[in-house]
Amino acid sequence: MGSSMTRGDIESLATDFYDLLESFKHAPFYHISFEIFLVLAVIWLVFFRKPRAIEKKLTEREKQELIDEWQPEPLVPPVDPNHPALNVRVLDGIVGKTVEIDGKKSLNFATFNFLNFVGNSRISEKAIQAVQKYGVGSCGPRGFYGTIDIHLELEERLAKFFNCEEGIIYSYGFSTIASIIPAYSKRNDILFVDEGVHYAIQKGVEASRSHVKWFKHNDIQDLERLLAEQEVLDKKNPKKARTIRRFLIIEGLYVNYGDICPLPRMVELKYKYKYRIFIDESVSFGTIGQTGRGVTEYYDIDRQKIDLISSSLEYSIGSIGGFAVGSSFVVDHQRLSAQGYCFSASLPPLLAAAAIEALNIMEEQSTPLFETIMSKSKRLHKKLLSIKGYSVMGDEISPLKHLRLANALNTIGRLEEIVQFAQTRDITITVARYLTDEHLLPEPSIRLILNVEMTDEELEFLCTVLQEALVKVTS
């Protein structure tokens, strides 16, 4: 039946308890405070003290043995001497519409020379004048006498070209977007990034240490899904949500895929889900849009709705460096927070002068030039589609296209054979090169780039050679 307490037991317990309380009343104050202290100390010891790490009590001899035994790995792993990067073609001349390799001239479809500004005499002339006035280097960062009047002119011209309040230039294309993203997005913020963005953006995203949500390349449904999921989390904790900044990072025209982002829908979603849009228009600047002003012009979207447009000066403009344009509210922040701007020497003046002259040419030639490049891209696209055996990636108006072999035949080895064969027929093309630690390594492809000055005959010849190469490789 178990032990049940008798009435007597309960009474004696109650008496004991009463005596205990009485003794508290009569005990001296120091006694009580000491008791309370002991109780608190026990509670702390049991619940709150972190277990101390067991310290290694090694003898000096043991420590020396550990030091002697430790063997580091070699600083770098061994490299295959046949790696393509160690056996690159050595050139010695202007890499323009044509390029001279091993003494023979060939048509160049491999470099980002969309508007054929490489070797342009007006641009070279302006660059020479800049060297005669400013020397070659700028000898300092922007903060310390490295700001030259020609930089300010270029920034103003770029801002005016895009009809934005302010522009800022960087001295290296890769560092531009890689410095911009961490300047705004910090640890607690969220970045919605397209999976197909190029490497510099991936590095910028990594440097920011923010939460990254990758959505499938150009897949608006996937983006909406992620945004909706985030909204649910926000509703759960609205106070925290008010402190998390959100950014959408996309490219205007993707270097790795050749397709254009679905910007109108993304701008709609911007106002619904309250994020800011940063577009990298390295390839789309100077190639699409009626006057070369990029995707915003192509879709006829008000540029005030885009928070920041960044681009490289190393593609259509034919110089070196990068820039960003947008409202003063956004752009001015970079002058103190973008590492690639504050802690690096400024752009050499001759490259800024070359960029200004390139902008001049773009503005002078305007619509006819850009309509030409868009229509030639369309024609090339059609011609390439007609070659059976290749699959063509990229928008039809994009001057940058990726060519793959259809089906399971697509390997780097075969593509390299096509490139080599094309070279023997005086056509220079290249396999797109990537590092192995890309977020989403694109499939092997040949990156074809259209130069606006290519004639229809030359495009026809390119397709003929590609056709012959295909036959050779697949036989």
Binding site: P72, R142, F144, D149, A207, K274
Partner: protein, 522 residues
């Protein structure tokens, strides 16, 4: 605390050099530190008051407005911009000063005026001719005339301004090979690779050398590009006190004995990253001691010689030359072409197998445009002059002129009673000014006297250690240096910059100039 080096630099015949390797960092006087902190406190208090007035509408809000609707999460937190809004903007006119000429020994600073206390600027059209003590032009190659710029101009005609292609594709020009082999010869190493931007050289190549499971031991005062590169690599980073060899050794021992945190696995490799000359302190790294430590503990060494290549050493070959150590003891030599060669870009040099690996896996080689032809030809031309390949001894003269100028300038500043940091041989001369208001005062007063100087404060330096940083050039003549010293003397008197407790406070006119002149010509 001052520390005398036990290792003395050696000259070409391996004899201990006459010029002492003395490095000093006089301690901040307590009263100066207190007044500085008080100054920042007053500025902050005024800043809060102004923010409050702006909030209630009594004062105009001058910062730009967000074009997005109000229910967007604010792009900047108010407290993040407090410093910019209330402290930086007050003295904004002394930073980012535009110039309108070549950044040589003399420069034309464009005058800016502001009607609204530095929120917006207008150009008055006036150009102020000044002695350039702010640009990095150590060997005086920032010239718009002469053999280097002629080579650059010729190359624009032959190669155009850019290739629009990467090194892995169609950007590998013959002149790149020429530059790299010349640079490897200059540094006395096996191979070298050049990149278009110095900052990117560090930030994009350190990730290829270190990764998860590696340890990077970085000096506390390393440049931002080194820190960014180390962060991007994913390795564990630990900092050791600036130039403190005991601390470095303690870190090395602890790392090898304890292994990785949590798992206690041994580290895969340890990389020590130091700089040749530290650009804010003017100190030199203690290379012989670091090499000794590195050999003892089997670590790898990465030396960033951005400010020391060309500017230090009897033959201008950097700290390796200064300390006469074996270049093969250092795994990675890194440097930039911006400072001593009057161009742009950076390089990494070392053993062939390391450089081959970098050629294959560098982010820059795979995704960035290759270097512009005139930039490369300027470097090749400057290198040929420094190495004496052009048949003249112009290169050696420039190196000696720089060393002479540095000694002349530093000695007199120290003898006047200013606190000057750094090594006696470093062309970077930081003079302490401590108080925030003096940052603007020194800059403006020196410009009035025809000297363009660089003054830096928090956050580029510690809160109490604002300084004016002079960059001496081989292009500076004795007259220019005298003019600058006289100006500094006047400004130092006007603004009270003589803080030294070790050296007596003297006016320039009280110095024994015959003594300095004697040393100048030797």
């Amino acid at each position: 605390m001052s520390n005398y080096q036990t290792n003395k630099p050696r000259d070409d015949n391996n004899r201990t050099s006459d010029h002492r390797n003395h490095e000093e960092f006089e301690e901040t006087p307590t009263w100066a530190a207190v007044v500085t902190v008080l100054g920042y406190a007053i500025l902050s208090a005024l800043g809060w008051l102004r923010d409050f007035l702006r909030h209630i509408g009594l004062e105009e809000k001058r910062t730009a407005h967000d074009p997005n609707p109000k229910d967007f999460v604010p792009l900047y937190q108010s407290y993040e911009c407090f410093y910019t809004r209330n402290l930086y903007t007050r003295i904004r006119d002394v930073f980012n000063q535009p110039i309108a000429s070549v950044a040589g020994a003399k420069v034309h600073v464009m005058e800016r005026v502001s009607d609204d206390y530095n929120w917006t600027f207008k150009f008055s059209g006036k150009k102020i001719p000044s002695i350039n003590l702010g640009s990095y032009n150590y060997l005086g190659f920032a010239e718009n005339q002469g053999p280097c710029s002629e080579q650059a101009i010729k190359s624009i005609e032959t190669y155009a301004v850019t290739t629009c292609s990467t090194r892995h594709e169609l950007g590998h020009q013959r002149y790149m090979k020429e530059l790299e082999s010349l640079m490897a010869e200059y540094l006395n190493v096996e191979d070298c690779m050049a990149f278009g931007m110095g900052f990117a050289t560090n930030a994009l190549n350190i990730p290829t050398l270190a990764g998860k499971g590696d340890l990077i031991l970085s000096d506390k005062l390393n440049h931002v590009s080194l820190i960014l590169g180390a962060r991007l690599s994913g390795a564990t980073i630990r900092t050791f006190n600036h130039n403190d060899m005991k601390d470095l050794e303690a870190h090395l021992r602890k790392a090898i004995i304890s292994g990785q945190p949590r798992t206690c696995r041994p580290w895969k490799k340890i990389l020590i990253i130091v700089e040749g000359v530290y650009s804010m302190e003017g100190s030199l790294c203690k290379l012989p001691e670091i090499i000794e430590l590195k050999k003892k503990y089997k670590a790898y060494l990465y030396v960033d010689e951005a400010h020391s290549i060309g500017a230090i050493g009897s033959r201008g070959r950097g700290v390796v030359d200064y300390w006469k150590v074996d270049p093969n003891d250092i795994e990675i030599h890194m440097g930039t072409f911006t400072k001593s060669f009057g161009s742009a870009g950076g390089y990494i040099a070392g053993k062939k197998n390391i450089i081959d690996y970098i050629r294959v896996s560098s982010h820059s080689a795979c995704y960035s445009s290759s270097m512009s032809a005139p930039i490369v030809h300027q470097i090749i031309s400057a290198l040929s002059i420094i190495m004496g390949r052009d048949g003249t001894n112009d290169g050696q003269k420039r190196i000696q002129q720089l060393a002479c100028n540095v000694r002349y300038f530093r000695r007199q500043l120290v003898d006047m009673g200013f606190i000057v940091y750094g090594n006696d041989n470093s062309p970077v001369v930081p003079v302490m000014i401590f108080m925030p208001a003096k940052i603007a005062a020194v800059n403006r007063e020196m410009l009035k006297r025809g000297c363009a100087v660089v003054t830096v404060g928090f956050p580029a330096t510690l809160l109490t250690e604002s300084r004016v940083r002079f960059c001496i050039s081989a292009g500076h003549t004795k007259e220019m240096l005298n003019h600058a010293l006289k100006a500094m003397d006047e400004v130092g008197h006007l603004v009270s910059l003589r803080y030294s407790k070790k050296n007596p406070h003297r006016r320039w006119i009280e110095l024994d100039h015959a003594d300095y002149d004697k040393e100048y010509t030797s």
